[in-house]
Assembly symmetry: C2
Homo-oligomer: 257 residues x 2
């Protein structure tokens, strides 16, 4: 009797809703850091993962680890995995299209990238485009995004913003891009968001502080959701005087007036 | 004995981690639709809400309802609430700054908007800017964002994108903005994301299909996370032929080549 009650309490809590994962393409966000799943993913995501047998993943190793973290009882060997990443030949459209075949059979396909949200600053968009073209159901799940979370915490304009990816490495193209970014901040009140190869983070801050008007504000957001999360907004003038070290730490940058 | 065991199982499950909400400004996302909390918010967010006594909210009524949904046992009358929304006089900086006073006393302040993520296409950024200027800790939590989720599911470029807010209503300014958006799609491969007053959704689709090149693709994402969620990408040519009705449904639009 005692055991039945315990199980009942546990089930009530764990599965207060039942779900069926319908045919379609599910975009499943992954954690940005190593904390507990409850920290940055809704419980629903775990239910979806439990209901999917076919996965398209950025890397096999990290996707398997993530699925095991969702539920240790999942039989990983019963699942199919295909990698889709920067090494994938996107011109081999037949191979890419084949990744969606289970949907045609009435099954669900899950996309998991290494960190954050699939198809945003991460692989996956090409596969989603094919799914959309074929009229399949596409379902994005909630999860952590360094772009969105840094924007929330920057204090910058969240009514207009642009994510620019990596800045050009080359001197002249880089200067032209920075100039255009300042123009869009001043004329359009558009927050500018961008990233850099992590080993050049410190250099980028010095670079911005040196070449752009010192009254502009720079938000440096590093280790989002991690133990050492730090999201700091200062004028470029103040960054010029500040001590900092973001060397090789995952960091995202935001610029505004 | 039986009761003790049940409680033990329940606690293990509910509070497998303990948390202390440190002094700082917490940006607490709210649901976009009426489903269970577990559907789109991490369990951690509820723990944070439990640990906060001072709230700055877009509207009192919806924030109280959200907090009660997080935990019915929270004593709402023991909390302080201040509204910050489009009716707030942002020039009264002393009043706005005062909202952060609890942080000076070592307490946490939570920001809750009516739907989605505070400070992104929602009020809150001005308050965050003050918190950043004062050097307070600013902590964004994970939650649903129609901008991010629609981008994930659109199949469009997630390496470069811009959220433009509302398009200008006026004919000439609107046409100029649309032209510039097409330019940025074609030259910069930048996905364009925007919104419209919900009673003009259908008109906007007709408008885009009429004025822009028919080979461009439009993604229409409506009722995100809701029961009638629909995220559909088609060429403008196909939208022109399609039957649709998004009248007064919360909808977000994405345009790409």
């Amino acid at each position: 009797m005692c055991e039945i009650l315990i199980n009942f309490a546990f089930n009530l809590n764990c599965s207060s809703y039942k779900m069926l994962v319908e045919a379609g393409l599910y975009l499943i966000p992954c954690q940005l850091s190593d904390g507990p799943l409850e920290w940055d993913l809704p419980a629903h995501n775990t239910e979806v993962v439990r209901g999917i047998r076919h996965f398209v993943v950025e890397s096999l190793r990290s996707a398997r680890r993530f699925i095991k973290k969702c539920d240790r009882s999942i039989d990983i060997d019963a699942l199919t995995f295909h990698e889709l990443n920067e090494h994938t030949d996107l011109k081999d459209t037949a191979a890419i299209e084949a990744l969606l075949d289970p949907i045609e059979q009435g099954e669900a396909v899950g996309v998991i990238s290494d960190a954050g949200c699939p198809a945003v600053a991460d692989p996956g968009a090409d596969l989603v485009a094919i799914a959309q073209r074929r009229g399949y159901k596409v379902v994005p799940l909630v999860g952590p995004s360094s772009i969105l979370m840094s924007l929330m915490a920057s204090g910058f304009n969240g009514q207009r913003f642009a994510f620019e990816g990596y800045l050009p490495v080359d001197g002249q193209a880089r200067q032209a891009r920075l100039k255009e970014m300042v123009r869009r901040i001043e004329r359009e009140r558009q927050t500018q968001i961008f990233i850099e190869a992590p080993y050049r983070n410190n250099q980028l801050i010095a670079d911005l502080a040196c070449h752009l008007p010192s009254r502009l504000r720079l938000c440096v957001a590093s280790d989002i959701t991690g133990e050492h999360q730090s999201i700091i907004t200062r004028t470029l003038g103040a960054w010029k005087q500040a001590n900092y070290n973001y060397h090789k730490v995952p960091t995202i940058f935001l610029l505004y007036q």
